[in-house]
C-alpha cells in the first residue's frame, strides 16, 4: 500500500536522524565505562580470618576513635563536624555501619594505606599526606590485626539488608555532598528553625564547613539533588566504583562501597531527584491503554465514513 510505503520513508529518515544525534553522537562524546561489579580487583584479598572480639581491642588500641565516632557502640564523634573539617579537611565518618556499607577488602586496604585504597595518591605528593594515618600494626601480625578490625566493624554494623538507601548515602557520600532537595547539608539533616537568626547561624556553620572542604578537595563537591537526571544511573554507578575511570585526576576518592550499597545510593538519589518515577510509569501505562482504544475507535470512525467515499 502506498501510504505504508510513504510511512516507511518518513520513519526511516526520522530514525536515521535520531540515531545520529542521540546514540551515535553520545557514543562519540562520552567514553563508555563498563562496571567492574565492585570487585576492587586491584586490591589484595584479605589474608586472614578476623575475630571480632580481638578486633574490638585492636580498634581501641589503634586510636581509631581519636578521629572517628562509633555511635552504635556508644562512642560519639570526638569533634563537631566543623572543627573536624578544620583539622582534616573533611569530617571523618562515623563507623557504626561501615562494616555493612563498605567492601571488606576495601576497608582492609584503606586501614593499611588510605590514599592508595581511595585512589587519591596523585593528590598527596611532595610531602602532603592523607589526613588519615595508615595503621602500621600493634606489633603483632599486621594482616591479622587488620582482619580483626574489619571483623569488628562488621559485627557492630546493621545487617546489610537493614541499611536504608539514605543510610548508605549518609555514610558513603553525605559528608562531602549536599542534597538540597532532601534538606541534607554536609552537616546532616538541616533542622527546622523558627527564628531567622538561628537558621542563618546554622547556614554560616555549613558555609564554614564547605570552606574547609573546598580547600581540601580543590573545589566544592556538587549538590547531588538532580544527579539522577543529569548523570543517570549508569554513570553514577560506574563513577562511584572508580571516579578516576570517568574523570581522570579528580579529587573525589573511590569510596569503596559494596555493589549492594551502590544500588542503595542510586536508589536514594532517584528518590530525591526523580521521586515521581513510579507514578510516571503507572500513569504512562494507563495513558497508553487509553490511546490504543482511542486509535481503534478513530480507525473505525474513519472506515465508516470513507467506505462511501471510495
Amino acid at each position: 500500500m502506498k501510504e505504508l510505503k510513504i510511512l516507511a520513508v518518513v520513519v526511516f529518515f526520522t530514525l536515521l536522524t535520531y540515531w545520529g544525534v542521540e546514540p551515535y553522537a553520545h557514543s562519540i562524546m562520552h567514553v563508555h565505562v563498563e562496571s567492574e561489579h565492585y570487585a576492587y580487583d586491584d586490591l589484595e584479598p584479605l589474608q586472614k580470618t578476623g575475630d571480632a572480639t580481638r578486633g574490638a581491642e585492636v580498634f581501641m588500641n589503634a586510636g581509631c576513635i581519636g578521629c572517628h565516632g562509633v555511635k552504635a557502640a556508644g562512642m560519639p564523634a570526638p569533634m563537631d563536624p566543623v572543627s573536624a573539617a578544620a583539622s582534616f579537611g573533611v569530617n571523618p565518618p562515623d563507623l557504626s555501619n561501615a562494616g555493612a556499607i563498605f567492601d571488606a577488602k576495601f576497608l582492609a586496604a584503606l586501614i593499611k594505606n588510605p590514599a592508595h585504597a581511595l585512589k587519591v595518591e596523585h593528590k598527596f605528593t611532595g610531602g602532603r599526606t592523607h589526613p588519615m594515618t595508615p595503621f602500621y600494626g600493634l606489633g603483632g601480625d599486621l594482616d591479622q590485626e587488620v582482619a580483626d578490625i574489619v571483623a569488628y566493624l562488621k559485627s557492630i554494623a546493621k545487617k546489610p539488608e537493614d541499611i536504608t538507601p539514605k543510610m548508605a548515602f549518609e555514610t558513603a557520600c553525605g559528608r562531602c555532598h549536599a542534597v538540597k532537595y532532601d534538606g541534607w547539608t554536609q552537616l546532616g539533616e538541616k533542622p527546622k528553625f523558627k527564628h531567622k537568626k538561628d537558621e542563618l547561624l546554622y547556614d554560616a556553620k555549613v558555609l564554614d564547613y564547605q570552606d574547609y572542604l573546598t580547600k581540601y578537595m580543590g573545589k566544592l563537591p556538587p549538590d547531588l539533588s538532580m544527579y539522577i537526571r543529569s548523570r543517570g544511573e549508569h554513570y553514577i554507578k560506574t563513577f562511584i566504583e572508580n571516579p578516576q575511570n570517568l574523570l581522570h585526576g579528580t579529587a573525589m576518592p573511590r569510596v569503596g562501597v559494596t555493589a549492594d550499597s551502590a544500588d542503595k545510593v542510586v536508589e536514594y538519589l532517584a528518590d530525591v531527584g526523580d521521586s515521581k518515577r513510579h507514578e510516571r510509569d503507572s500513569v504512562g501505562k494507563m495513558v497508553m491503554l487509553y490511546l490504543f482504544i482511542f486509535a481503534i475507535l478513530a480507525y473505525l470512525w474513519k472506515q465508516s465514513i470513507w467506505r462511501e467515499l471510495h
Partner: protein, 404 residues
C-alpha cells in the same frame, strides 16, 4: 436593527445572533479538501494538536515557575518535578512536545516541497508557514532559557553572541539584548515574557494567517492536479460521493486526521513517559554556572543543521552562511522556476535535488551535534557547501525542467 423571531431552541437562538450554521458550513462541512491525499496531509492537524498540548501544559507550568535566577532552577526541578501533583507530567509533556513539534514541522515542510505545494497561488501558504517556523524557533529558544540550567545559560550566551555580527563587533547590541554583560536576571525575565506572552500571541496570529492563506488556493493533492472545487463540490452534494474529487473537512477529512493524530499520540506519549532524554538534555539538570562551560554544548536537535552551517567556516563567512540558511527557505517559491505543480518523483532533476537536500540536512544535523574535530569538521564543511550549492543550482535546474 435586524428583525428577530423567537427562537425555538438554543441552536437557533445562537444562529440568529452568530450565524453558527453558516459558520459551520463554510468552515467545516463545506470546506472542501481534495480526496487524493495521504496521511502526510494530516500533519497540519497534528501540529494544531501539539500546539494545543504545548499551550495547556505551559499554562500549568506557568502557575509554579518562578522567573528569577535564584529560584528558577529549583521551581522547575523541585517544585514542579517533585512537589506539584502531575507537575512532572506537564513538564515532560511540554518538553517532549516542544521537540516533537519540530519533527512534525520538518515533515510538513518537506511534504510541501516534495509535492510543490508552494506554487501557483500557494506562495503565501509557504511564506506564512516559514514565518511560523521562525516564531516557533524563537519560542523554543526562549523556552529553553527558563529552567536556568547549564544548557540554558550557555545556549543563551552563545546564541546572543551571534548578534555581535562577527567582526562588526556590535557588542552594544549583544548587551542590549541581554540587558546585562552576561545572561542574568534581566535576560531571564525578558525571555520569560517573550516565551509566555509575545511569541505565543504572534504564533496564534500566524496560525490564523496560515489558515487564511489556504482558503483561496485550496489544499494541494498527491498529483498536483488542478481541481475545479465548485464543480466537484456539486457532485459531492448531489450524492455522487464516490466520483467527486473532493471531500468535506468535517467529518470526512477530520476522521482521517484523527486516526493519524491517534497514532501520533501513541508515539508522543511513549516518548513522554519512557524516552524523554532526547528532549530534556541531562546537562540542563545541572544548575546554571557562569564560571564553568559544559564539555559539550550543542543546540537542541532541530537547530543543529543551521548551527552546523555556521560552525565549519571562519567567523564572518560562517555568520553569513548562517544568515543565508535562516532566510533562504522563504524564497523557495521564487527560486523554483518550473511551472510544474507535481510530486518531485515526476520532476526530473528536482527529484535529485529534493533527496540530496533531505540527506544533506540530516548529515548537517548529525555533524552539528558531534564535536567539531577531524573528520566531522570536514564532513560538516562539505555538507554546508552542498547546502549552499543546492540553492544556487535550484533556479537553473528548475528552469530547464520540462512541463509535465
Amino acid at each position: 436593527m435586524a428583525h428577530f423571531e423567537k427562537a425555538r431552541n438554543l441552536e437557533e437562538w445562537l444562529d440568529q445572533r452568530l450565524a453558527i450554521k453558516t459558520l459551520r458550513r463554510v468552515l467545516a462541512e463545506e470546506y472542501w479538501i481534495p480526496k487524493n491525499i495521504n496521511f502526510l496531509w494530516a500533519m497540519g492537524m497534528v501540529l494544531a494538536i501539539t500546539f494545543g498540548i504545548l499551550l495547556v501544559s505551559g499554562i500549568f507550568l506557568l502557575m509554579y515557575y518562578q522567573p528569577n535566577i535564584e529560584t528558577a532552577f529549583d521551581s522547575v526541578n523541585y517544585t514542579i518535578m517533585q512537589e506539584v501533583e502531575f507537575g512532572w507530567l506537564w513538564r515532560h509533556m511540554h518538553a517532549v512536545a516542544a521537540s516533537v513539534v519540530f519533527l512534525i514541522i520538518y515533515i510538513h515542510m518537506f511534504t510541501g516541497i516534495y509535492y510543490g505545494s508552494y506554487k501557483k497561488g500557494r506562495e503565501l501558504i509557504w511564506i506564512s508557514g516559514m514565518l511560523l517556523f521562525v516564531t516557533f524557533s524563537a519560542e523554543a529558544f526562549s523556552g529553553y532559557m527558563l529552567p536556568w540550567g547549564q544548557m540554558s545559560y550557555w545556549a543563551g550566551m552563545v546564541i546572543t553572541n551571534l548578534f555581535s555580527l562577527g567582526s562588526l563587533e556590535f557588542n552594544g547590541l549583544v548587551e542590549w539584548i541581554r540587558g546585562d554583560y552576561v545572561p542574568g536576571q534581566a535576560f531571564l525575565t525578558r525571555f520569560f515574557m517573550l516565551h509566555v506572552l509575545l511569541l505565543p500571541l504572534a504564533i496564534i496570529g500566524l496560525i490564523g494567517l496560515h489558515f487564511g492563506t489556504l482558503r483561496i488556493p485550496h489544499v494541494n493533492n498527491q498529483d498536483g492536479e488542478e481541481i475545479d472545487f465548485d464543480e466537484e463540490a456539486k457532485k459531492y452534494l448531489a450524492g455522487n460521493k464516490k466520483e467527486a474529487k473532493v471531500i468535506r473537512f468535517q467529518p470526512d477529512f477530520l476522521s482521517k486526521d484523527m486516526f493519524v493524530v491517534s497514532i501520533f499520540l501513541i508515539f508522543y506519549f511513549y516518548l513522554v513517559f519512557w524516552h524523554f532524554d532526547f528532549a530534556m538534555d541531562p546537562i540542563n539538570f545541572d544548575p546554571a554556572d557562569g564560571l564553568k562551560t559544559p564539555p559539550h554544548i550543542y543546540p537542541e536537535w532541530y537547530f543543529l543543521w543551521s548551527y552546523e552551517i555556521l560552525r565549519p567556516f571562519p567567523k564572518d563567512p560562517g555568520l553569513i552562511a548562517f544568515g543565508f540558511a535562516q532566510v533562504i527557505f522563504f524564497f523557495l517559491p521564487f527560486l523554483d522556476k518550473s511551472p510544474n505543480v507535481a510530486p518531485a518523483s515526476r520532476r526530473g532533476m528536482f527529484k535529485v535535488w529534493f533527496w540530496v537536500m533531505l540527506v544533506d540536512m540530516i548529515v548537517l544535523t548529525v555533524m552539528g551535534k558531534l564535536p567539531p574535530q577531524g573528520i566531522y569538521s570536514s564532513i560538516g564543511f562539505v555538507a554546508a557547501v552542498i547546502f549552499i550549492g543546492l540553492w544556487i543550482v535550484l533556479p537553473i535546474i528548475t528552469k530547464k525542467e520540462k512541463a509535465v
